[in-house]
Amino acid sequence: MNLHEYQAKELFRAAGMAVNPGEVADDPPGARAVAERYGGRVVVKAQVHSGGRGKAGGVRLASTAAEAEQHAAAILGMEIRGLAVERVLVSPTEDIATEAYVGVLVDREAQCPVIMVSAEGGVDIEEVAATNPEAIHKLPVDPRYGIMPHQAWTLATRLHGDAGLARQAARIISQLYDAFVGNGASMAEINPLISTAAGEVKAIDAKVSIDDNELFRRPAIAGMRDPASESAADAKARAAGLSFVKLEGSVGCCVNGAGLAMATMDLVKYYGGEPANFLDIGGSSNPDKVVAALEIITADRGVKVILFNIFGGITRCDDVARGILEAVERMDMGVPLVIRLTGTNEELAREMLADAGMAAVTSMDDVVREAVRLAGGDHVDLR
């Protein structure tokens, strides 16, 4: 789950970190009031889960409170990468001397959190990684010890030659790590970490993603979820425990298992179709999940056919069949349904479907080809 900048900053402040102040407003007068408190010279920033806010015009400097109000009005009307801006963060401007990058994420190979710092901050770090990788310094942190003072210090010396600035940066690096671990994050980032002309080091932007698997034990953070930041389909999928990603094609996919679901999408494309979604109904599926999945898929007006690909292992085919039959009874699909079922309780499932006048094939290739044909895609057999 992604947090907004202002939420991430709250977590950082709770960790004791030096963070640029700021208050959230959801209307232009509110933004003006905040700007007045900060003396007028402020930056107004769109709070959306998207990179590139600056380029999209979602970050604007104001010299007066009135100007801040105008900027807020402009930004609050925007959509950035499809996301409506509902809040702005109003912060006093800082007198920036240097900009650095500090981030933490879990590294697959090292099997532990890795801290990354770069003196090239304030820019897209993935671009730095691609064009100038040696400008990024990485430190794997042993989870048994956490970050040790000398490690934070060593990283900080990569950012600042001045000992006073490096000491402040070391403190912030340690605090970022502690906030990362303490809040169950999968990513925590300060970009940029600035030093001011007056010699202060502080975070002026903040980005945090929380590991979804941590939310059950962190109700306060789970409560930070912004309903506006997810589509109705995403919210419904999350509530039903489905993994769902909306795509732009016409073949609605309903599969058990993430790997098989991806392979199914690939096969749709292979046969000249376009998948409308990734959807994994998961392991111990029950009929309700199948119904929810069908509701989500059929709500997508671009879908011209629905494809089930189920290889029953822990998933029982009869559960899936039951869900399909329930859904068919309850709602009008409006589009054809093609089904592949094999594995656990396959025969039972096949009988249930037959009783309702439906059929299921056993081959993944067959069902995908049929789905692509029904979707009107160019069915090209590449063999």
């Binding site: 790997g259 292979y270 292992g313 993944m364």
Partner: protein, 295 residues
């Protein structure tokens, strides 16, 4: 032969009294797995009913179960909140091989659990994995026993049902398996492709390996390099997620392409550069294996 485990492996099931745990324990036992004990805190002293009138003693702790039964492997089916703790308990009780089926384990929990397993010298398979099945010998996890058959092919995969899909074709085409291993779809898994490749390399019965990867990370690329440098038997590969858009997580916490790294194209190239034949569709895997084995 098989890898990591065999018919002599003495298995405990953590979470044996739970919904998934009890179902799959019976499946494993029906397959022939030596399930010698179950562990459910607070239910020690009870007995679990296996298939055909068999019974498995249930203990309060893994330490008790190991002391009483000499178990040397464990399969973890406990809920996500307790899964890392269960792995740590098994490692702390000197269980050598630990399969964690549980999906949704917090990643930071796993950083600690993997560290302890390393400290204690235990191998963890998973989490979020279907386990390992050695056809005709033993089954630790949830891979359906009836889709496999003994034979010369080793199979390694990040995912569950896609593994079944591939194995299903192999078995249908008469290409049996020495072992099928699902290493798990999470970012941090205890046993890597490379670990499995090394084990298959040391197994004289394994004549070919199937490696089923997916987008995200660099595990497949490293495994491919290892194959190129060390493995003499043929390897057939498949990568799921060629059509996944970058930056989006596809179910598996691992299946996300970030920036320029972890794409299917990149992995396919790494496979091909190291002499691994890449199937475009799951159904092609079996044919490529047959060709590689000269059948």
């Amino acid at each position: 032969m098989s890898i990591f485990v065999d018919e002599t492996t003495r298995v405990i099931v953590q979470g044996i009294t739970g919904r998934d745990g009890s179902f799959h324990t019976r499946q494993m036992m029906a397959y022939g797995t030596q399930v010698v004990a179950g562990v459910t805190p607070g239910k020690g002293g009870r007995s679990f009913d296996g298939p055909d009138g068999t019974a498995v003693p249930v203990f309060d702790t893994v330490a008790d179960a190991v002391a009483e039964t000499g178990a040397n492997a464990s399969v973890v089916y406990v809920p996500p909140a307790f899964a890392a703790g269960a792995i740590m308990e098994a490692a702390d009780s000197e269980v050598a091989f630990i399969v964690c089926v549980t999906e949704g384990v917090p990643v930071l929990d796993m950083t600690r659990a993997h560290a302890l397993a390393r400290d204690r010298g235990s191998r963890v398979l998973g989490p979020n994995c279907p386990g390992i099945i050695c056809p005709g010998r033993t089954n630790l996890g949830i891979i359906p026993g009836r889709i496999v058959t003994p034979g010369p092919v080793g199979l390694i995969s990040r995912s569950g049902t896609l593994t079944y899909e591939a194995v299903h074709h192999l078995t249908r085409d008469g290409l049996g398996q020495t072992a099928c291993v699902g290493i798990g779809g999470d970012p941090l898994v205890g046993t890597s492709f490379t670990d499995c490749l090394a084990a298959f390399a040391a197994d004289s019965d394994t004549e070919a390996v199937v490696m089923i990867g997916e987008i995200g990370g660099t595990a497949e690329q490293e495994a491919a390099d290892w194959v190129g440098a060390n493995l003499d038997i043929p390897v057939v590969g498949f990568i799921a997620g060629r059509t996944a858009p970058p930056g989006t997580r596809m179910g598996h916490a691992g299946a996300i392409i970030s920036g320029s790294s972890g794409t299917a194209a990149e992995k396919t190239r790494a496979f091909e550069d190291n002499g691994i034949k890449v199937a475009k569709r799951p159904v092609e895997i079996s044919a490529l294996v047959a060709a590689a084995l000269g059948r």
